[in-house]
């Protein structure tokens, strides 16, 4: 049990490509977040959950699906910790664990807007396929 | 005349090597060089030219001459033992045999080099005719007959067989040793092979390479020629040509401290190197042009002048194949004959 928990937090780090230990707990992410009020786990807390290897709670929380993936936090984080990507990674884990295919390749070209960050697009897919 | 089937050669090598060392072309890491035969050696007699010539068997790239040890404050000198056992050098081509004759002039004339002499006395040469001469060969220019090289034994490949002819007493002894594997043969096949080789020789690109301009006392005229100033230019001052050459005989003497004593050894040196014959006052040849000139003047002028006209080039063409800058003795010879012709 311990091992699988740990592997999930490792997975979050791997998928998001971020190092939660870099966080200096300044809260700029939470200050920037448009969905802050609706979140049960606040953006700056995501990091602690990953550090504490409690992805379990993260996977169950509402914030995962409240996050707009606007990436304001990613953009503004002074330490390059990118909470938005952590949320997205947690989302991915939840979705992966559910199994199944979520997107038909043919749909993709139509959905791509040139100005839209690709990452946002992908996150959005995951979110609405919930 | 004897013969042996190609497929039985391994037995032959096993037999020869059971009683003595057998030096034979062995292919290792993609290249063929002489080496001591062992049961798992990849013998390669098809490659015409080993990278290094067979001179190594008599004049190794490096050899210890004596060892100095210290016992308390006293010094003890132990001479390296001379070669005391017979060995067989197998598959030697005409050019390399001629090369050995050149080296004999150097090492066997007084004062005799005892290390060389001992090896020469104990070496039994099994020569091999060149069935397929190559483009860089020009041994005939130096009077070598690749159709019938002069070893203690001369051999030819023809069809399924290796033909075997003993020429000397040493050769006879070896033939006797191998008698169980050799069968009698007539000379017809060999004669046919010799003709076939001759036909190829006449078609070789360097077949008509002429030494005309090098006869006589050419010292002053050649030494002062302006041509050297151009010819040396591509030369990188490496020692490839000297180390693959069957006749280059220069060596350096050095000491090595093994911790338990000092070994004095000699190793091949190259006149192409900037520190060749370096002395306390400096070097008597200070430019690469001079060093380059020295090599060819030695081979084509100085050596024959002191050795009854014997050139110290045998036309093996190894330097032609191996020079990194594609310069070589043939280009030098040609450049001078062109100059003579244009005069």
């Amino acid at each position: 049990m311990e091992a699988s928990k740990k592997s999930r937090s490792e997975m979050v780090k791997e998928i998001s490509g971020t190092n939660p230990l870099k966080c200096m707990k300044c809260g700029k992410c939470s200050a920037s977040c448009p969905s802050y009020e609706k979140m049960d786990i606040k953006p700056h807390q995501f990091v602690s959950y990953v550090i504490n290897e409690d992805v379990e709670s993260l996977a169950k929380c509402d914030s995962l699906w409240v996050c707009l993936s606007c990436f304001a936090c990613v953009e503004r984080c002074p330490r390059d910790v990118k909470p938005g990507k952590i949320v997205d990674a947690a989302r991915q884990i939840v979705i992966r664990e559910k199994g199944g295919s979520y997107l038909v390749p043919d749909e993709i070209p139509e959905l791509i807007d040139e100005d839209m960050p690709q990452q946002l697009l992908v996150s959005a897919f995951r979110k609405f396929r919930r | 005349m004897k013969k042996i089937k190609r497929e039985n050669l391994k037995q032959l090598f096993d037999l020869i090597s059971s009683g003595q060392r057998l030096y034979i072309p062995i292919k290792k890491a993609g290249q063929t060089n002489y080496g001591i035969y062992a049961a798992d050696s990849r013998v390669d007699l098809d490659t015409l030219k080993t990278v290094k010539s067979s001179k190594e068997a008599f004049f190794p790239q490096s050899e210890t001459l004596y060892t100095v040890t210290k016992e308390n404050r006293k010094i003890k000198i132990t001479q390296q033992e001379l070669e005391g056992e017979d060995f067989v050098l197998f598959g030697v081509r005409g050019c390399d045999i001629k090369g050995a004759q050149v080296l004999d002039r150097v090492f066997l004339s007084s004062p005799v080099d005892s290390f060389y002499e001992a090896r020469r006395n104990h070496g039994i040469i099994v020569a091999l005719a060149c069935s397929e001469p190559e483009e860089s060969c020009f041994c005939t220019t130096f009077g070598v007959d690749p159709t019938e090289p002069e070893g203690d034994v001369t051999t030819w490949f023809k069809g399924e067989y290796l033909y075997w002819k003993a020429n000397t007493e040493k050769g006879e002894r070896l033939t006797a040793l191998c008698s169980e594997l050799l069968t009698d043969a007539d000379e017809a096949a060999v004669e046919e092979e010799k003709e076939s080789i001759k036909a190829i020789l006449s078609r070789l690109p360097y077949a008509d390479l002429s030494l005309e301009s090098w006869h006589g006392d050419a010292t002053n005229e050649k030494f002062g020629s302006e041509l050297w100033k151009e010819l040396y230019k591509p030369c990188l001052a490496c020692g490839t040509c000297t180390f693959v050459c069957p006749t280059c005989q220069c060596y350096d003497l050095k000491d090595y401290d093994t911790g338990s004593g000092v070994q004095r050894y000699r190793c091949w040196d190259s006149c192409m190197y900037s520190d060749f014959t370096m002395m306390a006052h400096g070097n008597n040849r200070t430019s690469q042009m001079q060093r380059f000139r020295q090599r060819f003047m030695h081979k084509l002028v100085y050596f024959p002048a002191n050795n009854d006209g014997m050139y110290s080039c045998v036309g093996c063409g190894r330097c032609v194949d191996k020079c990194p800058a594609s310069t070589n003795i043939v280009k030098v010879i040609k450049a001078f004959s062109k100059e003579v012709n244009s005069k």
Binding site: K22, M24, K25, C26, G27, K28, C29, S30, A31, S32, C33, Y36, E37, K42, H44, A72, C73, R76, C77, P78, R79, D80 | N72, R73, D257, G259, S260, H281, G282, N283, T286
Partner: protein
């Protein structure tokens, strides 16, 4: 001929207990070059040293090996002993038989065997030792201080008070630096100008201090004790000798559109100006980019009104060359550019300002005459938000990775001053951490909270959004309450990070002083030599070495000064003779060695080289032995082994290796 003497010490029983000293002596006698070997109870004692000296004289020894304790202990002792006996001190080698042999081994056979080998190695090495002479070089009794801020001024004053000539080179028209721009100083809240200007006056008046204001260092050559520096004195267009500093020219100048550097660009100044009223020297300069006369040839108003006849439009830059024994870098800092922080709307709203700008606003001599007002509409602000760590403590691609150190304290100061003078104004400080190590610092911060009611909120601001009504909506967070905050402010003050003055790069290059990735100058040792640069004779003062507040800067300035004084007090510099040396006969001039030299001790010259009679000009490396400290980095960078280290030469080390592996 070699004649090596070997002296084996018993060190009482320290060595003799686990090493058969007699055996070591016997074995040493068999080594090549050894003509004398003996043992003694205590080699380092007077009697022991006498034995060594006697043997050196009697046997005419060319080198000695002392088998004793660590060379770190007694190498100097035995070198002195050898020198007294007439042997070059560098012909001494120590075999460490105590710390590295007898003390760690219990078995006498094992200990003796190792002792023999260590002795053998030392003998092998000393056989190749060469006599070395410590070099001497003179010291020019004059120091240069680059930068005329508080760091430079304090360093100069301290050096000058010790009796040495000091020149200060300052690139702006007046000394004073950043401290002159400050209104009040923490933690005492005394007026910055009140404590700085007396020092400026002292410096100007000091007979040993010479000011080169409006000047820049252009070229540096030489080495410790003997630097030659070219200083460019930029044309002021005002004759310093004639000017009385009356200020009429500035009043009358018709070109008044230039931004005042001193007021952080918040007000304008004339083309002929002194940066501030108390400027030293109190002689204006003409800004050639603004002056109508210099640009178009017409005008000449200042000349007309100058009763002293000090205006000189024809003045040219002047380059003076001066020699120095030591150089102090005190180039200070700048506030970072805020281009990467769009979210704080610095470029969008006039009411988002940096703390340095706030200093000017709050200063009585500043653009608003000391009244706290919004720059957009001149109205007094009611709600002020301070944002900490803007650009400090960031990931490397986003800002500065370091803590700027001074921001927590000056923000507390600002907040306190505002609340004191304008109790109606609400002050909120968003912080990540409040860092107040320093005497009376935390007390100061607590006063801001407890006595002055400053609202400290733990959490960084995400965004400042200018509103249509001119207010600023601050999106923040209170991490303690777990609430997102949206505060309507009418002024936002950013604690922007500080960075080394950009000119320091160029100066470091000229001085061959090393610089770190943040452009701070590197100290010779981070702990033990914090005010010295690795380049001998170059010292560091103030923020150029790392973020500092005023008291720290002043103490470092004093420390740098005492280092300079220590250097200048010497008549001769003895140089370590174990320095690198290039064999110019074979040097390729490839620059590999210079690339790794931490001291800039290697330069290149085209030299005529005689190679066994062949003369050719080659580019060869030349080591300045006064600068070289003997680390040996160059010797390994050199592929042909041409660069060697005296005292630890390639062949010496090889000989040791051989002796050990034998």
């Amino acid at each position: 001929m070699h004649g090596i003497g070997v002296f084996v010490c018993h060190c009482g029983s320290n060595i003799a207990a686990t090493v058969d000293v007699k055996k070591v002596v016997e074995m040493a006698k068999l080594e090549p070059g050894v003509v004398h070997a003996e043992d003694y109870q205590y080699m380092c004692s007077e009697a022991g040293q006498e034995k060594i000296a006697q043997a050196i004289k009697e046997k005419n020894l060319s080198g000695i090996v002392v088998c004793s304790c660590s060379p770190r202990m007694h190498e100097a002792t035995f070198r002195k002993c050898a020198e007294k006996a007439g042997l070059n001190p560098y012909m001494v080698e120590i075999a460490n038989l105590r710390e590295q042999c007898s003390w760690i081994h219990k078995d006498i056979e094992e200990g003796t065997e190792k002792a023999v080998i260590l002795t053998r190695a030392a003998i092998a090495k000393v056989n190749l030792n060469t006599s070395l002479e410590a070099g001497e070089s003179g010291v020019i009794k004059r120091a240069l201080v680059i930068g005329g801020g508080i760091a430079g001024i304090q360093t100069a004053l301290d050096i000058a008070d010790a009796g040495y000539e000091v020149d200060i080179v300052e690139k702006t028209p007046s000394i004073g630096g950043k401290m002159a721009q400050l209104d009040k100083t923490f933690p005492t809240l005394d007026c910055s100008a009140c404590i700085l200007t007396p020092k400026m006056v002292d410096a100007a008046a000091h007979e040993k201090i010479n000011l080169y204001t409006y000047s820049e260092v252009e070229k540096v050559s030489g080495f410790v004790g003997d630097f030659t520096v070219e200083i460019r004195k930029k044309a002021r267009y005002v004759n310093m000798d004639k000017c009385t500093g009356c200020g009429v020219c500035m009043e009358k100048c018709p070109s008044k559109k230039a931004k005042s550097e001193f007021n952080s660009g918040l007000s304008n100044r004339p083309a002929i100006y002194t940066p501030f009223a108390q400027a030293i020297p109190n002689v204006p300069v003409i800004d050639p980019t603004q002056c109508i006369k210099l640009k178009t040839g017409k005008c000449g108003v200042c000349e007309k009104f100058c009763q002293a006849g000090a205006i000189d439009y024809k003045q040219k830059d002047e380059v003076i060359t001066q020699k120095y024994g030591a150089i102090v870098v005190a180039t200070g800092f700048e506030v970072i550019k805020l281009d990467n922080y769009d979210e704080y709307a610095y470029s969008q709203s006039k009411d988002v300002i940096t703390s340095l700008e706030l200093e000017r606003i709050m200063n009585a001599a500043g653009p608003t005459k000391g009244h706290l007002e919004r720059l957009s509409d001149g109205k007094p602000p009611k709600n002020i938000v301070f944002i900490q760590c803007v650009g400090s403590r960031c990931a490397e691609n986003k800002g500065k990775s370091y803590c700027s150190k001074i921001c927590c304290m000056y923000t507390a100061k600002h907040a306190m001053l505002i609340r004191d003078k304008y109790p109606d104004v609400n002050v909120t400080v968003f912080y990540i951490d409040v860092r107040t190590p320093g005497k009376n610092f935390d007390e100061f911060y607590r006063r801001a909270v407890e006595e002055y009611g400053v609202n400290y909120v733990k959490g960084q601001v995400g965004k400042v959004a200018p509103q249509a009504d001119g207010s600023l909506l601050v999106h923040g967070v209170d991490l303690i309450d777990g609430k997102q905050l949206k505060i309507s402010a009418d002024m936002v003050v950013l604690a922007a990070a500080i960075e080394p003055n950009p000119t320091v790069r160029n100066i470091a290059t000229m001085l061959t002083a090393s610089i770190d990735t943040n452009n701070f100058l590197t100290e010779a040792h981070p702990k033990l030599r914090p005010v010295e640069s690795p380049t001998a004779g170059v010292f560091l003062s103030g923020v150029c070495q790392g973020p500092k507040d005023i008291p720290e800067t002043v103490s470092q300035a004093g420390a740098a000064a005492i280092k300079v004084v220590g250097l200048l007090a010497k008549d001769k510099l003895m140089t370590n003779p174990c320095t690198a040396k290039a064999d110019e006969l074979l040097c390729n001039g490839c620059s590999a060695c210079a690339n790794v030299c931490p001291y800039g001790a290697i330069s290149y010259e085209d030299k005529l080289i005689n190679d066994h009679g062949i003369r050719k000009t080659h580019r060869v490396a030349v080591v300045n032995s006064a600068l070289c400290q003997g680390c040996g980095a160059c010797t390994v960078a050199c592929p042909s082994g041409v660069m060697d280290l005296q005292g630890f030469s390639n062949r010496q080390i090889i000989a040791e290796v051989d002796a050990i592996c034998r």
